[in-house]
């Protein structure tokens, strides 16, 4: 395997970007950079910038558009912006683009040996280096300056149908890499690598691999557990004070047919807290115990800092694919709020831990079970946002129905063993009060509206709407304030930053990255 590089150097163009990342910015609110997948470790995707705000948003202008020069799938990555340069990916490709002008600086291409090319979430950055995952199971480090390869490490096994898609997150001297794949019955895990050498520091499985591992009592056997899925599809969030990584885990395996895995199947469909330095399990909370609908719980777990009776309280919130919203104490995983953010029909209340209790009648049936949400879920991988100024958690949601059929009737089903078919769906952006889980406002989309979100101190929520619109809503009321019609639906989570006194908003639709700027004074 060789990687090919192509360079386009901008003669005479003074770039911000040649010095590397000041790693201290990884733990700070993003203003003059967007140095990590969610902007910072919290997962909030909130910007304190206010040059673009609800009062002047109608003056927002298109600054530039960059159409990618290679790669077969759309841009699902969240770009990073470091020292005036944007870095983003699609499977097998990484680009550096001038954040002021949209001109390509370099393009790195990986020669792949297989793997699913469904999407890539982006790069991680540390000092002078970038990190990304390839569909054929490699973690690769590049030189930020020119895209040249520094090292590569194999992180998974293609023959077991794993693949790489996750944006690495760098925490202290750890490159945290998640794994993707749910075709065969394999265990999910998270890895930490040395940012300088790429050497493996630790690997933690999300399901029990031996008797006595956390969650062992929720599986019928270690054979079932150690093939039980729980992939780590999404970039993690992190609390530096607690030194805890929050990894969200995927569905159990087999996915739809469940006869050989009675029990809650911990820690699939869960938020799991790990020690950042050792990977050691600290606590787990299953948003989807014993899932049978392909509802991974890999939706972003967002850190919220609350104050109760004058005392700070560390919380973590998730709008899960199964339609339920959870707020937990992030020190110990105890539930504070469990509620629905769209109406569902598959559960029978909550257990003592605040976890939903699956209704056996709504598990897949031979003759079909009508279930809401559908397999796509009430939410999915596109990241939500939390705005501390409004106290609202925003998520682009769907209320969708489909019929789940059981195909594999064997006592020991493998792989999927069934699926859902057909469906009806409605989409809306839900603004959730994290203190009680109630919907403060709901902005219904006429058609699809599934995208990542960004909120700002300018009282704005940026999102994708129907008819390929990039939309700004009033964060307090949900009123639609502004839109731009793109060449396709928004395909990633927007970001914002300020350069030379101008605030920019960057968003992707398919093969194009769009930059909007507030030039008005």
């Amino acid at each position: 395997v060789k990687s090919k590089l192509s360079f386009v150097f901008l003669a005479g163009c003074l770039l911000y970007g040649q010095p590397g990342l000041n790693n201290a910015k990884l733990g700070q609110p993003p203003t003059d950079s967007w140095p990590i997948y969610h902007g910072d470790y919290s997962g909030r995707r909130f910007s304190t910038l206010t040059r673009i705000n609800a009062n002047n948003i109608t003056s927002l202008s298109l600054a530039w558009a960059y159409r990618m020069t290679a790669g077969g799938s759309g841009i699902k990555a969240t770009p990073l912006m470091i020292n005036g340069v944007l870095y983003f990916t699609v499977p097998d490709h990484v680009w550096a683009v001038d954040a002021l002008t949209g001109r390509e600086i370099w393009h790195h291409q990986w020669t792949n040996t297989g793997g699913i090319h469904i999407g890539n979430r982006g790069v991680g950055a540390y000092g002078n280096w970038l990190y990304y995952e390839t569909p054929d199971c490699h973690l690769v480090s590049l030189n930020m300056k020119d895209g040249s390869e520094r090292w590569r490490k194999k992180i998974c096994d293609l023959d077991q149908f794993y693949f790489g898609s996750v944006a690495p997150i760098i925490i202290k001297n750890h490159v945290i890499a998640g794994m993707s794949g749910d075709d065969l019955d394999t265990p999910g895990y998270l890895e930490s690598h040395d940012p300088e050498t790429g050497e493996l520091q630790w690997r933690t499985y999300t399901v029990p691999m031996k008797k006595g591992d956390p969650g062992s009592d929720t599986w019928p056997s270690i054979e079932a557990a150690s093939h039980g899925g729980g992939m780590t599809w999404q970039p993690v969030t992190y609390d530096p004070e607690l030194n805890l990584i929050y990894v969200t885990t995927g569905n159990p395996q087999p996915v739809i047919a469940y006869k050989n895995r009675p029990g809650s199947n911990a820690y699939t469909g869960a938020i799991v807290a790990l020690n950042a330095d050792t990977g050691k399990f600290v606590w787990g909370f299953q948003s989807s115990p014993h899932d049978t609908h392909d509802w991974d719980s890999t939706e972003t777990a967002v850190l919220i800092d609350d104050v109760v009776n004058g005392h700070p309280r560390k919380l973590i919130a998730q709008a899960a694919r199964n339609g339920h919203f959870f707020v937990l104490d992030r020190a110990n995983g105890k539930a504070v709020v469990s509620s629905e953010f769209v109406k569902t029909n598959w559960s029978k209340g909550y257990d003592a831990k605040g976890q939903p209790i699956p209704d056996p009648e709504k598990m897949p049936q031979v003759a079909g079970a009508l279930v809401t949400p559908n397999q796509g879920g009430a939410a999915n991988w596109p990241p939500p946002t939390f705005n501390p100024a409004t106290g609202l958690f925003y998520v682009n949601a769907s209320r969708a129905f489909s019929i789940y059929y059981l195909y594999d009737l064997d006592e020991n089903p493998q792989g999927w063993g069934g699926t859902d078919q057909g469906g009806y769906s409605e989409s809306m952006l839900q603004a959730i009060d994290y203190k009680n889980g109630k919907i403060r406002w709901s902005h219904k989309w006429e058609g699809g509206g599934r995208s990542g979100l960004l909120s700002t101190a300018g009282n704005l929520v940026f999102c994708g709407g129907p008819n390929s619109a990039f939309v700004a809503l009033n964060a307090t009321t949900g009123e639609a304030l502004w839109h731009a019609r793109l060449t396709g639906p928004v395909s990633n989570g927007p970001i914002t930053y300020e350069l030379d006194g101008t605030q920019y908003v960057i968003v992707a639709s398919g093969d194009t990255l769009w930059a909007f700027a507030m030039y008005a004074k």
């Binding site: 023959d159 019955d185 020991n412 792989g415 078919q421």
Partner: protein, 254 residues
């Protein structure tokens, strides 16, 4: 299909004839311990999940494993298997791995006709209010002759198809034209098929084919009419038993 498209570029493509030969060897030497689908029994390991099998390429891993000697049904040493036999066995086992994937020949629905047709008819004429729009001797006459049972089920629950179900729509979908009547601040109301509707604009095509677009303001009234609204409302009301019963009833309309 995602499942069958997963894995490495150099993965082994199953040779069906070789897999058939391998099936015979498997039946003679392996099935008692590893099971008919190679998913294991109390006596032998699950071979679909075996790393030896998953890493194998036409015997590259399986061959050295078997050459070490492995218990067989006949008592014959597995070390005596020829390279051709091992290759055949490899194709058979890879075929069993593929059984687990979406898109495989086994990835098919089973019989969905488990309902009570009489109860389904009662629901059709009563609680479901289906008979208000549909007739077994009118639009539904002979419908079971044109659709499979699962297509009937999908068609009546989701007449417009669409949605995000991974298996996709199971039935040819009905034509759904959602219309809107738009009343501008000044001027007359216009009704037509919705071409585009969002927070900012509404575009409809009237019966003459002419397009009309308005910027949406509080003064511009838009009233939607979805011909499948009754089906949409049914989604929150119908039980799975009702759904199975109606499917059984529709199956009688041949």
């Amino acid at each position: 299909v995602i499942g069958l498209g997963a894995g490495p570029c150099d993965k082994q493509e199953v040779n069906a004839a070789a897999a058939d030969r391998g099936r015979n060897l498997y039946a003679t030497e392996c099935v008692n311990c590893h099971g008919a689908l190679a998913r294991g029994t109390d006596l032998g390991a699950n071979l679909v999940r075996s790393l030896v099998v998953l890493h194998d390429r036409v015997g590259s891993e399986l061959g050295p494993f078997l050459k070490k000697g492995h218990k067989t049904q006949s008592g014959k040493s597995s070390a005596s298997f020829t390279e051709a036999q091992i290759a055949d066995l490899s194709h058979f086992l890879k075929q069993r791995v593929n059984d687990a994937l979406r898109g495989s020949p086994l990835f098919q629905p089973n019989n969905v006709l488990v309902g009570d047709a009489k109860a389904g008819e009662a629901y059709f004429r009563g609680e479901g209010k289906c008979a208000g729009c549909h007739s077994p001797t009118g639009d539904l006459a002979g419908i079971a002759g044109r659709m499979s049972p699962i297509q009937l089920q999908q068609r009546f629950v989701f007449p417009s198809g669409g949605g995000r179900g991974r298996g996709g729509p199971a039935a040819a979908t009905a034509r759904r034209t959602v219309t809107a009547t738009v009343t501008p601040a000044s001027g007359t109301a216009v009704t037509g098929a919705i071409v585009m509707l969002d927070d900012f604009f509404v575009t409809i095509r009237d019966s003459s084919g002419e397009l009309h677009t308005w910027k949406r303001t509080p003064a511009v009234k838009v009233v939607k009419n979805d011909p499948f609204q009754a089906h949409i409302e049914l989604l929150d009301k119908i039980s799975d038993k009702n759904m199975h019963d109606v499917t059984a009833y529709l199956e009688t309309l041949k």
